[in-house]
Subunit: 329 residues, 2 copies
């Protein structure tokens, strides 16, 4: 066996190694959702418990100059709640915060970071339950969130042929915001609309109430943390289906249109710019109108078929799409 | 407000900041144990759920040269299970593994690390439920373990005046093992007994079955991750009591006695050498014999009183003890 390193096998190769080691979930009848969805879920009495865990590392997932400590704290909680929202009507109950802190970190930074944790937890009526702090070279934020619910869990793999594909709001703002920061840095004097895009990058809000309203009607559900392109691919592939995406129906904000005037740019951010944290779901066509009544911001962007391919169309014409998404390793 | 940094306020100062931000647990009647015990525990239906989370960072908590990847994986799980064992008769059910991995990490390292995770989880009939992997400069292992039980949770704060203080086995081996590695490094040709001490450092085993056998009789319980001295202090202080510790009754292994011949050295490792992961508990004196029958390796090392001080005695003579324990920041 050749001993390759992780950067040469990539994230998919790494997940392959990990999955191979753990087929144990098949043997445990209490497990509702095992490795490979937005949360891990297990049954306990009449409840289903959903647990999600994410790690944010300074320099990899955030830069201290680009986001305030309070925004960072809120974001660390919201992105985890987004994974809970991606399971359906589940109430996030408890948050655990593991922190790696360089000893030179200022007291005020920590205080404001925790203000952020608390603000987000208060917003969702959650309790900060515990965690630990350790010394490290860079700031590491490892959040675990525990949610509970009695309703059916909506997995990523339930899409049926003929279902329509919906999204809860516009795409592209967060990706455009981070692109501006990469291009112009923090000293630049940004115009108002540009600042709005940066704010969207730094202040995501999990679509928890939307999920609660619509989830019982859905056949599949996920959240778009790595861009719409990745979410559509995962949902289609995990459901063992195909999908047609109508690019002219992908919703983008007025702000994005003002800052980036070309349609191609806007769609690139929408498809490949990560961190919008909107929900992506499928629903039988007969229920599409009802769902949109419940959450008017919803748009439909495509349809599930049995082709096992994801095809993209713009004004009815088939498009070639090249993925330029975020590579973790 | 002066903006001090974390190294100047220390870990206690840091925990102070964090605790101040979160008094929310008082308002949640489902919370059995909030921040500041070995686990966070909450009630759900007839069950109590216990959750613990620990982060191991390369260079801070382990060195790649000093431990094999499989040992490291097993240890990361065992130290978290030790926190579960410290709550009483709770079954660890699911493990979540968050990994930060430098891209140059070899595939074989990751594979063996996961072999270790799996070996420890299999030993305790647990399921690896999920987690995430991210890019980082150093290896970061963030483990969350979820346990469930129906019995009463044994907190750290229930010791009563007159209770005796017990420990599940010997102390000092793990601390002596790491001291040898610091002194002689990895190239040194170690004698057999020295190697045994290093093995104890690298291969801790959570006292889960011991806890299951004795916990219903106990008044307080914790595990000794940061040394016996720290555990006795926490247990005494949290119970708002005092304690007398009889140093001549602290159990140390034959191996430790062979490698470090002076009693003072042995007791220094026992009190201040961390990572023995034995349980430290209190029990009414009337039950002390019963408990020792259930777990014959148990020793009694002291007694709870109302003095609010922790006093140390050697052969009946009061001793001055100076803490030389591990400082996190």
């Amino acid at each position: 066996m050749k001993n390759k390193n992780i950067s040469s096998i990539g994230e998919v190769g790494l997940i392959g190694i990990i999955k191979n080691q753990f087929a144990t979930s098949k043997n445990n009848k209490n497990i509702v959702v095992g490795i490979g969805d937005d949360c891990f879920c297990f049954r306990l009495g009449k409840n289903t418990i959903c647990i999600t865990k994410d790690m944010l590392i300074e320099g990899v997932h955030f830069k201290k100059d680009w986001i305030t400590p309070q925004e960072l704290g809120e974001k660390a909680i919201e992105v985890n709640i987004s994974d809970i929202a991606a399971m359906g009507n589940v109430k996030p109950e408890y948050a655990f915060i593991g922190l790696g802190i360089p000893p030179i970190t200022s007291k005020i930074f920590i205080r404001n970071l925790f203000k952020g944790f608390k603000a987000a937890c208060d917003r969702h009526k959650m309790t900060i339950a515990g965690g630990d702090t350790v010394k490290s070279d860079k700031i590491i934020i490892s959040v675990t969130i525990v949610g509970a619910g009695k309703d059916k869990i909506i997995k990523r793999n339930g899409a049926k042929t003929g279902d329509v594909i919906g999204v809860t709001n516009t795409f592209g703002d967060a990706g455009a915001g981070v692109a501006l920061l990469y291009k112009y840095g923090t000293k630049h004097k940004y115009a108002k609309n540009e600042r709005l895009l940066i704010l969207k990058q730094n202040n995501p809000r999990a679509r928890l109430s939307e999920s609660k309203k619509i989830s019982k009607h859905l056949t599949s559900l996920t959240d778009a943390s790595d861009g719409l392109y990745v979410s559509v691919n995962l949902l289609t592939r995990d459901s063992n289906k195909g999908s047609d995406i109508y690019m002219d129906q992908i919703p983008v904000s007025k702000t994005l249109k003002k800052v980036f005037k070309e349609t191609k740019e806007q769609l690139d951010f929408a498809l490949f710019g990560a961190e919008d944290y909107e929900l992506v779901f499928t629903v039988p066509e007969t229920k599409a109108r009802l769902i949109k009544k419940l959450v008017p911001q919803i748009s439909y962007i495509g349809k599930i078929n049995s082709s096992k391919k994801v095809r993209y169309f713009y004004n009815g014409k088939k498009q070639k799409i090249k993925c330029s998404g975020f590579k973790h390793f």
